[in-house]
Symmetry: D2
Subunit: 139 residues, 4 copies
């Protein structure tokens, strides 16, 4: 097993019963929501608010996800989402996000997320303040 990345943000959450599907585990699509909520909370901690960006015409978009589901999360379980920013350029950002079960300490999910920002007109570009704030988080 390779070393975990240098995480710069963590968020603790709990499984909600409506997120559990008929197989008795958190539905695989729900993890993307945990990851998005963690990214937006992280960005807010840097002073970047996705909703404010949207009001100024900038949409955050995910362009690629690569995700491994290793262990399922179940009803009532607590978990922590850890986040690293391995790279950011003027046209895209990359997040590594790992989810650990807080009780077993096991890695349950591991994902690489690539995204960008779409301005009101023209081609994708990361706004300046977003770029600089994120760049400071790159190890």
């Amino acid at each position: 097993m390779k070393n975990p990345p240098a995480y710069c943000f963590t968020l603790e959450l709990a499984v909600r019963d409506y997120e559990v599907d008929m197989f008795g585990v958190v539905n695989h699509s729900v993890y993307l929501r945990y990851l998005e909520h963690t990214r937006h909370t992280f960005l807010k901690s840097l002073g970047i608010d996705a909703a404010h960006m949207q009001q100024r015409g900038f949409n955050l978009v995910v362009t690629h996800i690569d995700i491994d589901y290793k262990q399922p999360l179940k009803s009532g379980e607590l978990f922590v989402v850890k986040l690293a920013v391995p790279a950011v350029t003027r046209v895209r950002f990359i997040f590594l996000q790992d989810i650990y079960n807080l009780s077993s300490q096991q890695l349950t999910t591991s994902a690489k997320i690539v995204g960008t920002a779409i301005p009101p007109k023209g081609r994708p570009v990361i706004p300046d303040e977003f770029y600089h704030a994120l760049h400071q988080q790159v190890p």
Copy 2:
């Protein structure tokens, strides 16, 4: 651009407004739901019912997803999910799934899904009838 895979199943769907997020496009997590619904509908067309499997103690699980978001889907748009089965073994299956906007005919999303089945006890294994039905779909 590489050639599209040999699709063996397609399903037409429409964006529902509750699937559109504050950025005015279908939230990226929702595509996983479109893809799951298409896989389950495809499996049902082969006589394999995920809910019946669950009642016999077999849980279908997704172990890996690799997904490219190329163009967003928006409120009211019609789209088609196309599916291919490039490979299946006794311990895992692979789906390729592409989503096309029906109006523009553009490829909006392209994904590779890897999964398996978990029996009531023991290690992951694809049940016989599931394996044979799926194997017939491999080009």
Copy 3:
């Protein structure tokens, strides 16, 4: 049992497996999504597009829901959502929406939805074309 209302629109849908919760039935919150999707599809059939309204600054909002859950829907089941418009005024609209299991023909869910539209500024008011289109549907 009282008579059903004079329905003016129906939409057939199928349960998707991700909508089924750990109890093996469609989660109660999902029915609100079936009902919203049916209302928006109905409105579109009258030439009223919720997304277009939003782009002009008018937000459709639900102000009250009264819903009876009579029979659960399960994995794979087909159902029809029927809709009536018992009343509309300049400041609110009322929908009655009933969901029937297509196989058993049983009434599974019955709801009364009250809503309005919020203009860019000022108090709730139903736009003219919306009011007139809906008013024609009142028995």
Copy 4:
């Protein structure tokens, strides 16, 4: 305005951006999820676990909801869900649940939820330990 009920449980939560719809506010169906999560968390604080009940064959079901949407919640807002149990019998329980915006202290949503439990066979009935635990919360 009538007096608020005698709340016996409160849960603080934050809006997650994926819960916000194209109108820029939390979609009305999401409030039912906030309410369910609060009820299940409350029940767990009484020693009643919905997932454990399900494993023993008892399904919790909602039979009726009456909900008023007074003020919308938006991206990033914090809120508290307050809960009261005005009545419980051997065949049904009633919850009153109010959601307050933590910043404005305004009541945003007010709901009455009626539910029951379905045993593996036979008619709805509240299991003994559930009934007694809940009955102690009735003012």
